[in-house]
């Protein structure tokens, strides 16, 4: 039996996937405005896994170095949201969001700033949409650009007493006609998952109630 079956029942898991789907769809629409090209999304995947499991899920797909824009969020539930893509896509994304207006040197200089702002728009629109639907505010930290492998990206808080199990949500995205692809991922530890479960139950009650 996986922790997942204990923690979220089928309808709660369905509701969470739908919340993420709506949040990420809004985020994709905003990213599309920044890059001027259609952003393609996969269906979201929601899993309760160990931190190592989350790392493995990414590593199976991406063997190279990764770049991520990271924002921590805090509220009734807390966690970390990441916009992740292969290091080799980084400059292409910077060029896409700056509309090719910068020389290569200027783009290199602007790289972190452009990535942070892109991550900020994408992750905020996703999290804000989810927070609104759950009717609980979330505060978001400033975006931070990090480079490394999956284990570095997913290390929430060293020495956390949750047995290392996290709720891991991820979606693949690709930018049409450009060789850019990546992931939007969210991680929450167990206490947050318990709080989130309560909010999801309230959300289901609100939207289903009286049906």
């Amino acid at each position: 039996m996986s922790p997942q079956t204990i923690l979220l029942d089928d309808l709660e898991r369905d509701a969470l996937t739908e919340l993420v789907n709506i949040g990420v769809s809004r985020a994709a629409a905003n990213l599309r405005k920044m890059v001027g090209e259609q952003v393609l999304l996969s269906v979201p995947s929601v899993e309760v896994v160990s931190r190592e499991g989350a790392t493995t899920l990414i590593r199976e797909r991406e063997s190279g170095e990764l770049v991520a824009v990271r924002q921590d969020f805090e509220g009734v539930f807390s966690g970390r949201a990441l916009l992740i893509f292969p290091q080799t896509n980084s400059m292409a994304l910077v060029h896409a969001v700056t509309g090719g207006a910068l020389s290569s040197e200027d783009a290199a200089e602007m790289e972190n700033e452009a990535l942070a702002e892109t991550g900020n728009v994408v992750l905020n629109s996703c999290l804000a949409t989810m927070a609104n639907m759950l009717q609980r505010p979330l505060t978001m930290s400033l975006p931070e650009v990090i480079r490394g492998d999956g284990s570095m990206l997913f290390n929430l808080s060293p020495g956390a007493s949750d047995g290392g199990v996290v709720l891991f949500l991820y979606i693949n995205f690709a930018i049409n006609d450009r060789d850019i692809r990546g992931y939007i991922a969210m991680l929450m530890d167990l206490p947050s998952l318990q709080a989130l479960k309560g909010l999801i139950a309230d959300f289901i009650e609100r939207v289903v109630g009286g049906a």
Binding site: D10, L11, D14, A15, T17, E18, N21, I22, G23, S25, R26, A28, A29, R32, Q38, V39, L41, V43, T129, M133, N176, I204, V207, V208, G210, A211
Partner: protein, 127 residues
């Protein structure tokens, strides 16, 4: 003749929300559900369906591909595509298939225009 509406969404919760809004706005309509594009096609093969509401982002064929296929078969059927993904290309493809765009999260207000328009078209077509 009663009106039958098919709701196609991989999320059960989303189907419940859509179904609830339809019940509030068109209480006499018969509601059917499908969890993906293949189930939807099977539903069309099995019975007469007058109106269809499709989710966009689903495993397998997405809602726009399904809308395009259904439009070929049913040139005048009211079709809506529900999504939060308001990218220009997606709205343009929905329009090209003569499908109405409904914003997610779905609300009664967001559904009202499509459902009353569909009811009107069906009434005038049956005269």
């Amino acid at each position: 003749m009663g009106t039958t509406v098919l709701i196609v969404d991989d999320s059960k919760l989303a189907r419940i929300v859509l179904s609830k809004a339809i019940t509030a706005l068109q209480p006499d309509w018969v509601r059917l559900e499908a969890g993906n594009a293949d189930e939807a096609i099977a539903a069309f093969d099995g019975q007469a369906i007058d109106v269809v509401i499709l989710d966009y982002n689903m495993p397998g064929r997405d809602g726009l591909a399904l809308a395009e296929e259904l439009r070929e078969r049913f040139p005048t059927m009211p079709i809506a595509v529900a999504t939060a993904n308001v990218q220009d290309e997606i709205i343009a493809r929905a329009r090209a298939a003569n499908a109405t765009f409904i914003a997610k999260p779905v609300t009664e207000d967001g559904m009202r225009g499509f459902l009353s328009g569909a009811a009107l078209r069906l009434r005038s077509a049956s005269k």
